[in-house]
């Protein structure tokens, strides 16, 4: 089984741990992942203008590349890429004139895009196509005793038309943690925004959001927080010192990608986990539960 994989820019830069853990854990599930040929940046955010065409070109180009690779579906792990590709796809499916403009603009490509590529997030793919029972059977090192705060952020569950789980109380991440042998904790802040790109222009907002979110995880005595977005990971992990300035009681808590916890449970080695790319070292928390 071959699955076209769209990594996105940040997985090839700051979030290489997300990339390598995705590829290695999928191999353990016997899914051959093939990186999309000639992929480009998706644009990271969906422009909300009702008549926008320009910002749809970047995501739609990627969907054209999927067709050029003789495929009809694409998988991505980054929540921002997922949201942007999926929304652009839904938008051009509804707006024939916009799609026509984009196809004309891309006249050098043989493919006339018809909105017919399915965009999947890996969490959705694991749940619906692989199944958590099968996944569970592949676990070599159960995450026994590990308390995990599952953080969805915004883009996996909003808006409604891209959500692959309940908008207010999604559970797919918790179900994954359970399948891996870990313990998901109740987490009231799991779909509350981390401040996103205000990391660039307004550090105070991110510090406030990170404090609220990580304090919520601490209250539940989580060992780690688990995410699916490199921008959430940056704010919750690398900006924790800023949050600690607002709230000196906030204890350091590592932030991991769901694919890293999967790779760990499947018995993958350090090269597939890349804990060296974190701000807060996950090793002490994992060692504390006897997992490394």
């Amino acid at each position: 089984m071959k699955l076209i994989y769209y990594p996105g820019c940040t997985l090839k830069n700051h979030a290489r741990n997300f990339d390598v853990s995705t590829v290695s854990s999928m191999a353990k599930l016997d899914v051959e992942v093939e990186e999309l040929d000639r992929w480009n940046c998706c644009g990271t955010v969906h422009a909300l203008g009702a008549t926008n065409v320009m910002n749809r070109i970047a995501p739609v180009t990627n969907l054209v590349r999927v067709k050029q690779q003789q495929a009809n579906e694409v998988m991505t792990t980054c929540a921002m890429c997922y949201n942007t590709l999926k929304r652009a796809n839904i938008d051009v499916q509804k707006r024939a004139a916009a799609l026509e403009t984009i196809n004309k603009f891309m006249y050098l490509d043989e493919v006339d895009y018809q909105g017919d590529v399915a965009v999947h997030h890996l969490l959705e793919y694991l749940r619906d196509r692989i199944g958590f029972d099968k996944l569970s059977a592949r676990v070599k090192k159960p995450l026994k005793g590990l308390r995990v705060a599952c953080y969805y952020g915004c883009l996996l569950v909003r808006p409604k038309e891209v959500a692959f789980d309940d908008v207010e109380n999604p559970t797919v991440m918790e179900d994954l943690v359970t399948a891996l042998g870990g313990t998901p904790v109740p987490f009231a802040q799991k779909t509350e925004c981390c401040g996103a790109y205000h990391a660039v222009d307004n550090a105070e907002i991110v510090a406030d959001r990170t404090n609220k979110i990580m304090s919520g995880a601490t209250e539940q005595q989580a060992d780690v927080a688990m995410v699916s977005c490199p921008l959430c990971a940056f704010n919750l992990d690398f900006k924790q010192p800023d949050a600690r300035r607002l709230n000196p009681e906030l204890q350091p808590m590592p932030v991991l990608y769901f694919t890293q916890l999967m790779a760990l449970a499947f018995g993958c080695g350090e090269d597939d986990l890349r804990f060296d790319l974190h701000h807060i070292d996950p090793k002490p928390a994992l060692a504390g539960r006897g997992l490394i």
Binding site: N13, A15, A50, C154, A199, V200
Partner: protein
């Protein structure tokens, strides 16, 4: 104490500003009945000078100067919480984005964010996803 009466009528909707907001966001502003649910759940509300429901009210009234001078339109981060909870299905985030667009492209270009002003050490540590999304939202 003086009493102020504010009247909202469809006349305001005929102003060029209101028409533009409604067209660009594809929203009907008068659908909002000011329940306040959008503001109650907004994670950015604590950092805003006017709240999301007030933004919609001011937009209904065509008060473009107040809206375009607010910090709230830049603080909103399109998290979509308000959109999914509004009982009248108003897409508040789309309305706010249309206000940002008007502020940045009002005959000439007015950038809200100049990347050169971001300190070099911040720029060095930021992942591409942060930079690109900030530029998409805060520059023309």
């Amino acid at each position: 104490m003086s009493i102020t009466t504010a009247r909202i009528s469809s006349a305001q909707l005929k102003s060029a500003f209101v028409a533009k907001v409604q067209k660009n966001s594809d929203q009907k502003l008068l659908a909002c009945y000011q329940c306040g649910k959008c503001s109650a759940g907004c994670p950015m509300a604590a950092h805003m000078d006017i709240l999301p429901n007030q933004i919609i009210r001011l937009a209904q009234l065509g008060m473009h100067e107040r809206l375009l001078a607010s910090n709230a339109i830049w603080t909103c981060v399109s998290c979509m919480t308000c959109n999914t909870r509004c009982p009248k299905n108003v897409h508040i985030a789309e309305v706010i984005e249309s206000l940002r667009d008007i502020a940045m492209r009002n005959g000439r270009r007015h950038e809200h964010l100049t990347i050169g002003d971001v300190p070099a050490e911040t720029r060095a540590e930021l992942p591409p996803i942060a930079m690109i999304s900030a530029m998409r939202k805060l520059t023309s």
